[in-house]
Structure formats: structure tokens, C-alpha cells
Symmetry: C2
Subunit: 217 residues, 2 copies
């Protein structure tokens, strides 16, 4: 047996309980917003006394921040090692596809971010400044290089990125509107492909690229 780093019983149950609480909080915050979800609701949902939540996380703010911190990892993926030498069509198609999948599969998390940004991103400002901004800068530079090499049309690279974000997140954040308008009860299995294909068609062709066939595999 490998020498673990002391799996204290305390540490184990602490982690377990914290995750229980964080799961409940994530769901409630995303459905009701920061003000709409109360500590007692989280307590009831997580089946834990309210005072216990305040013991782990010092305040409602603390709990909210913990929820956000835990989510952030998920949403940084994609476009990670992209360089100017990569093929724009492949890179962008895959990025759009992964974003659509994320939006359809994790709508709660997407909405939690959305409502956070809607309110001026009080808890994300710092993160945006120190993480997202440099990340974006790097991608934008790659886009610009593609434009300089005439691989894609010359448009503002920031707006290109925003267009991808906007179109993909829309299906998570405004799900209720989309479903109501389309007269559906929920997304079905074909929707991910359908949405990906539509968005990819418009955006890729829109910047002068060939649209890849939808991969059937």
C-alpha cells in the first residue's frame, strides 16, 4: 500500500460534507440567484444544519465564492494549446462543439456565471483581470496571426471570440426562452449536433472558412 498523505477520518468527512453542501448551493444559487437562495434552503437541500454550513464557510459570501471557485476549472478548457500554425477551421469547430456540449450538459453552471456577470461580476472581476484577460489576449493574438496570413477574414478578433461565446452560451443561459419559442420541453440528443452545426456553419463560413462535414463518429 502506498503511503497516502494521512487520510484522516476528519479530513475525509469534512471533504464529503463540504461537497454535499457545495452541490446543493450550486444548484440553488444557479436557479434562484445569490439573493434568492437562502442559507436555510441550502441547509435543507444538503440535509445539514445551517450552523454547520456557517462553520465550514464563514458566511454566505464565503459559500458563494467557494461554489464559484469550484466551477471555474471546468470553464477554462478548450483552445488551450492553440498556435498560429494550427488549422483555424479545425480549431474553431472543435472549440464551438465543446462549448455547445458544455452548455447543454452543465446549464446550471453556465447560468450561475451568467447571473454573476449580469450583476457586474462582483466575485469574478479579479479572476477576469488576472486569468481571463491574459488568456483572451493570447487567443486574440492567434486570431490576428491567422488574419495577417489571410487564413481568415479580417474582423475584430475580440468580437469573433465574443460571438462564439455568445452563441454557444445562449443555449444554456436562455434555455427557457429557446425551449418555449421552439415549443419543446427539453433538448434532445439531436440538438447538440444540430446547434453545433448551425453555429459552426455561420461562424466558420462567416470568417471565410470551409465548414467541416459533421463528424458522424
Amino acid at each position: 500500500m502506498t503511503t497516502q498523505i494521512k487520510p484522516n477520518k476528519k479530513e475525509v468527512t469534512r471533504e464529503k460534507n463540504q461537497n454535499l453542501i457545495l452541490n446543493a448551493a450550486e444548484q440553488l444559487f444557479s436557479q434562484l440567484g445569490y439573493e434568492g437562495a437562502s442559507m436555510s434552503m441550502v441547509a435543507k437541500e444538503a440535509q445539514v444544519p445551517k450552523a454547520n454550513i456557517l462553520y465550514y464557510f464563514k458566511s454566505k459570501d464565503g459559500l458563494y465564492e467557494a461554489v464559484i471557485d469550484r466551477i471555474i476549472a471546468h470553464w477554462n478548457l478548450g483552445l488551450d494549446n492553440v498556435t498560429a500554425d494550427d488549422d483555424p477551421a479545425t480549431v474553431l469547430y472543435n472549440y464551438i462543439k465543446s462549448k455547445v456540449i458544455l452548455a447543454i450538459n452543465e446549464p446550471f453552471q453556465s447560468r450561475l456565471f451568467a447571473s454573476e456577470i449580469l450583476r457586474g461580476a462582483p466575485y469574478l472581476q479579479n479572476y477576469f483581470r488576472t486569468n481571463t484577460r491574459p488568456w483572451v489576449k493570447q487567443k486574440v493574438d492567434v486570431f490576428q496571426a491567422w488574419m495577417d496570413a489571410k487564413k481568415i477574414d479580417a474582423i475584430d478578433p475580440y468580437h469573433l471570440l465574443f460571438t462564439i461565446w455568445a452563441t454557444t452560451q445562449y443555449y444554456a443561459d436562455f434555455q427557457s426562452e429557446v425551449l418555449l419559442v421552439m415549443n419543446k420541453l427539453e433538448y434532445d440528443e439531436t440538438d447538440v449536433a444540430q446547434i453545433t452545426q448551425s453555429i459552426a456553419h455561420i461562424i466558420l463560413k462567416g470568417i471565410g472558412l470551409k465548414v467541416p462535414e459533421q463528424s458522424k463518429a
Copy 2:
């Protein structure tokens, strides 16, 4: 003098006070969300006793609904008399442009709608069903006719409409993110044209249309 429909002094002041309250409520709800904005805050902002608000609008719910009702008119404009005979490029370019202008000029209203939809559109469901859905159906039919006539590429017309909505609203709803990422403090006069041009380029070219020159007039 034309015989007005009795401009009672009562009715006049009632209307005036109600608008005072609705303005304050619109601002606060859009900044803080339904739960985040309290009746006393609205009262203080509108410089009116809280009990007076509850006299006019029977409850917080009632006030919120009144705010939404008042806004809805603004957001129905555009694409109104479009037919299959119209020129797709002109129609869509103008629609995108008007949407961008609205997003930049009325971000509060856009965000209020967004946070409403984010929470499942409890107050808008009925409106979506009875108004938006038929409206959309009609536009989608026109899009489809354009596709059948090979005027634009064949993609799902719903997703085309969603793409326009998503990209334009993004600049209002996620303004704080956009500004943080671009390292700006606020949108300037050139941004409306810049955003319109970028979005129109991608979407119009993306469905097989020529991108109109930006109209300088």
C-alpha cells in the same frame, strides 16, 4: 380645444407617481435582480412612501410585472413587416444594427429580461407563448422561404434567429465581462459601428450573403 377624455387631476398625478415608481423599480430590479431589490429601496429611490407603492401595485410581484409590461413594447420592434420578397441582406443588416443599438442604449432593460429568462421566465412564459412564439414562427417562415429560393444557405432558421439575438444581446447582458476583457471602462461611440460590422460580417457572410458596406450616413 379638443374634448380630452377628462384629464382628471387625480389621474394625472397618479400616472406621474406611477412612472416615478416604475423608473426607480426598473433600475433597481435590473441592477440587483428581483430578490436583491427591496420595496424600501424602490421607495427611497422614487422618494415615495413604501405604503404608497403597495397602494398602486398590490405587491412586489405586481410591481415587477408592471415594470416588465412597460418594457416589453421596446423590444418587439424590428423585422416587423418582413416578407419573403424582401432582400435578406438589407433586412438582416438593419435588424442586427437596431439590436446592437438597443443593447448599447438600454442595457438595464436587456439585463432585466436576461435575468428573468435565466430564472426560467416565470413572468414571461405566458408572453412568450402568446406573442413571441407566433412572431418567431412568422420570421422563421420567411427565412425558410429565402432558403428555398436559394437566397441564403440552408440552416435551421431558428438557430439563425437565436444567433442574431445571442450575439447582439451579449454586449448588454455581459457588458461587464466584455469591458473587463477588453480593458475598457465603457463603450465609446465607435463601438456600436464596430460591433454591428463584426456581427453583420460573420452572420451575413455566414449564410451566404454579401456584407453591405457600413452606411456612413
